[in-house]
């Protein structure tokens, strides 16, 4: 599987590394050239020597998406630090490039919920944290 991950922060880089380890082809796009350092943290080899691809460019630039291989992508992960950026590029990946699997990180639960109702596959870390915190508090109270 060819996976394109846009945004190489804590989340994007961790997903990229584990997908690469599982034997997938992984391409990462980030506007910051320094983001490569996160990909290579605790690794003996350079990201590209491990077989990964890295492109510097902003997510809304079609040329950058093409260079990062969006036309070949089987899966697209939108994980930049901007909810709106993620929601827009995910729709571009889906509607313009017909990427079969598109996953979007959205921090705001309200936007995540509405866009998931519209058919986007959204992941909302905030909603997950809210659930887990509630569960943890309840468990403590019972115990």
């Amino acid at each position: 599987m060819f996976v394109l991950i846009v945004g190489s922060g804590r989340v994007g880089s961790a997903v990229a590394r584990s997908m690469l380890q599982e034997g997938h082809q992984v391409s990462v796009l980030d506007e910051d050239a320094e983001a490569l350092a996160l990909l290579e943290r605790n690794q003996d080899q350079a990201w590209e020597d491990l077989g990964g691809q890295f492109t510097v460019g902003t997510a809304l630039e079609i040329d950058a998406l093409l260079e990062a291989g969006i036309e070949q992508a089987d899966a697209f992960v939108a994980a930049t630090d901007g909810d709106n950026t993620n929601l827009v590029i995910a729709q571009i990946a889906k509607r313009r490039f017909n990427v079969p699997t598109v996953v979007v990180r959205v921090l705001d639960p309200a936007r995540a919920e509405w866009y998931s109702e519209q058919g986007l596959s959204t992941v909302c870390p905030t909603a997950v944290a809210i659930d887990m915190l509630q569960q943890a508090v309840r468990a403590e109270v019972k115990g």
Partner: protein, 223 residues
């Protein structure tokens, strides 16, 4: 009309002031605290503090009863999202988006956000109109009728040289009406052959200049 304007930068603030002056009810949303404070001094309760791409902020501003939402922040992804949500979630019939980077116009188009207004693009088109890249003269402008007549010179090496008028590939909305050659002019037929050194008069709908000049531009200059 009730109009929600997202973004109180220069564009949003002036827009809000004009719209209020014309008797509309307006709410402006601004997320930057110092900018908000500055605008609030003038517009008072007509400006709300918050991130206009947050649904609850839009709801607090009464997006549900808005006749129009205008997104003029400095971020294209925010403007796209605000207009998309306003139209599709809250059923706002009319949206207008500002497009900061003309390269992003294609994204507005893809997601059906229109009209998208790009100042850069407008100015570029005006420049093309005033100072065309490939030499032509405006002979007549009828701005109200949106028609104009231009005169364009056929250079040596132009793809138009040696071509019949019907094979020029002029876009719909334009017509070659005269050819000036060796100090005389004639009205061309569809099989008249254009020669290098000719001057061709074309009547066209305003805005077609670029499409027409590319038919006359020698290949070397096209790059």
């Amino acid at each position: 009309m009730y109009i929600v304007v997202v973004g109180a930068g220069k564009v949003g603030w002036n827009l809000a002031r004009e719209l209020i002056g014309k008797g509309n009810e307006v709410t402006v949303i601004e997320s930057e605290p110092s900018r908000f404070a500055m605008v609030e001094e003038e517009l008072e309760h007509a400006v709300h503090y918050g991130d206009g791409s947050e649904l609850w902020v839009l709801e607090r501003a009464g997006v549900g009863r808005a006749d129009m939402v205008i997104a003029v922040t400095g971020d294209d992804e925010d403007n796209i999202l605000i207009c998309q949500v306003a139209r599709e979630k809250y059923g706002v019939e009319r949206v207008i988006a500002r497009c900061n980077n003309p390269r992003n116009l294609q994204h507005f188009e893809l997601l059906g956000i229109k009209p998208a207004v790009s100042a850069t693009d407008l100015i570029l088109r005006l420049i093309e109109h005033e100072v065309p890249r490939y030499g032509f003269l405006h002979l007549l402008d009828l701005p109200q009728e949106r028609l104009e007549i231009i005169e364009i010179e056929v250079a040596e090496g132009s793809p138009a040289a040696g071509t019949m008028v019907k094979d020029l590939g002029l876009p719909d909305g334009s017509l070659a009406i005269a050819i000036l050659r060796h100090g005389a002019g004639f009205v061309p037929l569809h099989d008249s052959v254009i020669e290098a050194g000719d001057e061709v008069l074309i009547v066209l709908d305003t805005g077609l200049e670029a499409k027409i000049t590319e038919r006359f531009q020698p290949p070397a200059e096209a790059a």
